[in-house]
């Protein structure tokens, strides 16, 4: 065995920055960082220079200025005297509202379609395959525009509901009118309304707060009751009868609240050329909602199908061998494992639904992009601020949703060995 060569001398030479692996990564990173900073500095310097050339400044003061435009669909109080900041809030809430509705409907359709595509029924599985392939291979904008067209061209005008023998009639026991101006539905109203609380710029509807509080308290009470029943069962082996107690806890408070507030529904009525009273969902919203849901549902269907297929047959066979019924085997063995595969793509689908609500531009639904990134931007001429704020808000929503996904992923992670 030959003697080992002397270890290299410890003194530092400049070439070691490149040839010595200990230093090389550091060199690369420093060079990278310098180049990147130079590039960013170049962008910022250009922006400052350009702003100066156009005689503009960079501030968000315009958010406190009177907006001066109307928004046709608002979830919170808004008039054209409100500020641009308020318009931003209206837009943001509209975006979130639409995203929420679409996520719910897309999940329902997607799960049904995904399960049915695996059905042994030949015709049903083929139909679902056709549905999935057709809808996901055509741009969602086209679906949005198409649904909007169906709503505004094929649906009857409000005047066709008039007369002894109307050409069109309301559906669902004469409560909902589907017209070419939108869908009119019964709306909630409170006789003894509790009014609003104003905290700074935020208005809170006391009625809705009361309803949420009562519901939360009921559910908390119900949980308590179940927990207690469980404890008794563990101790004595006999589960106490709880169904009437839980029914009372869940139902009585909310019914009492209904009477206390004088809650009733206002039905839409034809007055003049249009329907009055109740809630109106404009065509733009219906179009966005249906098109986004039906389109995104195809992706959800595929991940549901993939999730169920990913669970090996052995699992369901083992469950059946244990004597579980088919339905119980599905509920207790297959689904909990499939959820682990299904949920991550499901949540990223929710994320993309939320981002796709910005396509409301195609039909004129007043979402965040149309208020902040549309009218506000055009009126104030603050392109840079508006776009940065808009992207920042979307980014925040995405980061929150991904953070939730990471929490979920961690909670269901398989613990191995």
């Amino acid at each position: 065995m030959t003697a080992m060569i002397d270890t290299p001398k410890a003194n530092f030479r400049l070439s070691m920055l490149i040839y010595d692996t200990r230093y090389r990564s550091l060199t690369i990173q420093v060079v990278f960082l310098v180049l990147l900073s130079l590039f960013l500095w170049w962008l910022v310097a250009n922006t400052i220079h350009n702003l100066a050339l156009k005689d503009k400044d960079f501030d968000f003061g315009f958010l406190g200025v009177r907006a001066g435009y109307d928004i046709n669909q608002t979830l919170i109080q808004y008039t054209n005297d409100s500020t641009h900041g308020r318009a931003l809030m209206v837009g943001l809430l509209n975006t979130l509202f639409l995203a929420f509705l679409s996520c719910v409907l897309a999940t329902v359709i997607g799960v049904i379609a995904g399960v049915l595509r695996l059905s042994k029924n030949w015709i049903v599985s083929r139909l679902m395959a056709i549905y999935v392939e057709t809808f996901r291979n055509v741009p969602v904008v086209l679906w949005i525009v198409l649904v909007n067209a169906i709503m505004s061209i094929s649906m009857p005008e409000p005047k066709e509901f008039r007369g002894e023998n109307p050409e069109a009639s309301m559906i669902l026991f004469d409560t909902v009118a589907v017209t070419n101006r939108g869908v009119y539905m019964p709306g909630p109203a409170f006789e003894h309304s509790l009014g609003y609380t104003q905290i700074g710029p935020v208005y809170l509807d006391n009625d809705i707060l009361a309803i949420f509080a009562v519901l939360a308290a009921s559910i908390w009470g119900y949980r308590k009751l179940q927990k207690h029943a469980g404890a008794v069962q563990n101790a004595t082996g006999v589960r106490p009868v709880t169904w009437w107690k839980s029914a009372a806890i869940l139902i009585v408070p909310i019914v009492a609240l209904k009477f206390a507030l004088g809650f009733h529904l206002i039905y839409p009525e034809l007055k003049g050329f249009n329907f009055n009273g109740g809630l109106q969902a404009r065509n733009s919203m219906i179009a966005m909602w249906l098109a986004l849901s039906v389109y995104s549902a195809t992706y959800i269907a595929e991940s549901v199908r993939g999730g169920i297929l990913a669970i090996s047959r052995g699992q369901s066979e083992a469950a059946l061998a244990l004597g579980l019924q088919q339905s119980k085997a599905m509920r207790l063995v297959v689904l909990p494992q499939a959820m682990r595969v299904i949920v991550p793509p499901l949540i990223s689908q929710y994320l993309s639904i939320t981002k796709n609500t910005s396509l409301a531009i195609a039909v004129g639904y007043m979402d965040l992009r149309s208020t902040l990134g549309g009218i506000t931007m055009n009126q104030t001429g603050k392109e840079l601020e508006c776009m940065l704020l808009l992207m920042g808000i979307y980014l925040t929503i995405s980061v929150i949703i991904s953070a939730l996904m990471n929490v979920y992923n961690r909670s269901i992670k398989l613990v191995e060995r």
């Binding site: 690369i28 962008l43 922006t47 042994k120 981002k355 531009i361 992009r369 776009m387 979307y394 991904s402």
Partner: protein, 432 residues
Amino acid sequence: MTSQSYVRTEMVAAQKPPGVQTGIVLWMREKLFSSWLNAALTLVAVYAVYSILATVGPWFYRSVWTGSSLTECRATLAATYGEGVSGACFAVIRERWQQILFGFYPRELYWRPTLTLVLMLVALWPVLFSSAPRGVLWFSAAFPAVAFWLLWGGTVWLPVMILLGFAVGYLAYRLISPLNGLLGAIAAILAPIFWWLFLCGPAAELVQSVISIELRQLKSADFGGFLLSTVIGISGIVFSLPIGVLLALGRQSDLLIVRTVCVAFIEGFRGVPLITLLFVASLLLNYFLPPGTEFDVILRVIIMVTLFSAAYMAEVIRGGLAALPRGQYEAADALGLDYWKAQRLIIMPQALKITIPGIVGQFIGLFKDTTLVSFISLQDPLQLVSSIRANTQWNGVYWEPFLFVGFLFFIFCFSMSRYSMYLENKLKTDHR
């Protein structure tokens, strides 16, 4: 021994199964009516199919293919099938299909995009199917420049000089690397950039003044329809894959700064809707660049779409990298391969293979997303459909052009997804 006559010497022919257990009856019992629930589902499905066909079928059947306006169409319909009957008016597509395909590209120059499409198929051939001759790959490499020249026109020497940039880089590498390997690599990067920034344009002008070969120059405003979608889509696809690979590697890297920057880039681009990025391309880029910089709007859109798609691609590829067993990395290290060789020879081929469905899905999404450019007033197919509908001749026609556009998108996307399945099958090496 005498023969035992009670033992049969030949087999009895097998009996046919009972009638209910063969053929169509069995198939229907198993596939359509195996349980009450299934039977109900079947009936509902049959009813749904029937009601769709009953509405759409006659409308399709009574289609009119000739005529130059909707009124004419309706007159033909009324004459053939009687008053008040609805039918499809596909005459609008027959009349305007060229516009939907090419936008406002000059009619006499339609041969250019068509030729580009044919050449694109040739260029794609060796990329998509390994049975093609490998030599064609050189053509594939040069295709972007060819396509640029054919579509936008102008002097042929500009794309040639741009391609020469790569030769310049190679030359610089060959000349300098014998002296010092690292310097050679740096020169191979800097020389072409220098060439493209300062020498390329003048050189092209010089050669053009000596040997003039040029096509009629077109502006980006002339582009539209599926031509525009395909240009943006294909460029986005071609450029986003390599950038996505680099980003994915950066995100997996041990270098802290590189990793942080890659994560910020990926999450930043994935967190905002594409439409805001397109607005940035059309409104804000003027702020970020030196005053007076003007560059083509299609190019800006391609850059934004590419970056957006690359961020998604990076996540898809990261999934593939994460799915590779640790042993693959260790085996590559054990063989003494350096980082890039290990990536090129061991890691990437496997990671890309298992991410094919994801990558192709991303391509499909990118192609569909090209319709969003209509919101920054580029003439994509949907925008053209609305302008056709706004036209007095065709005012009131609705479904037909949308059907046509939807159908073309479907063909493109569906064939991509089928190709990905074919590729997946072909590359499948596990024998499960």
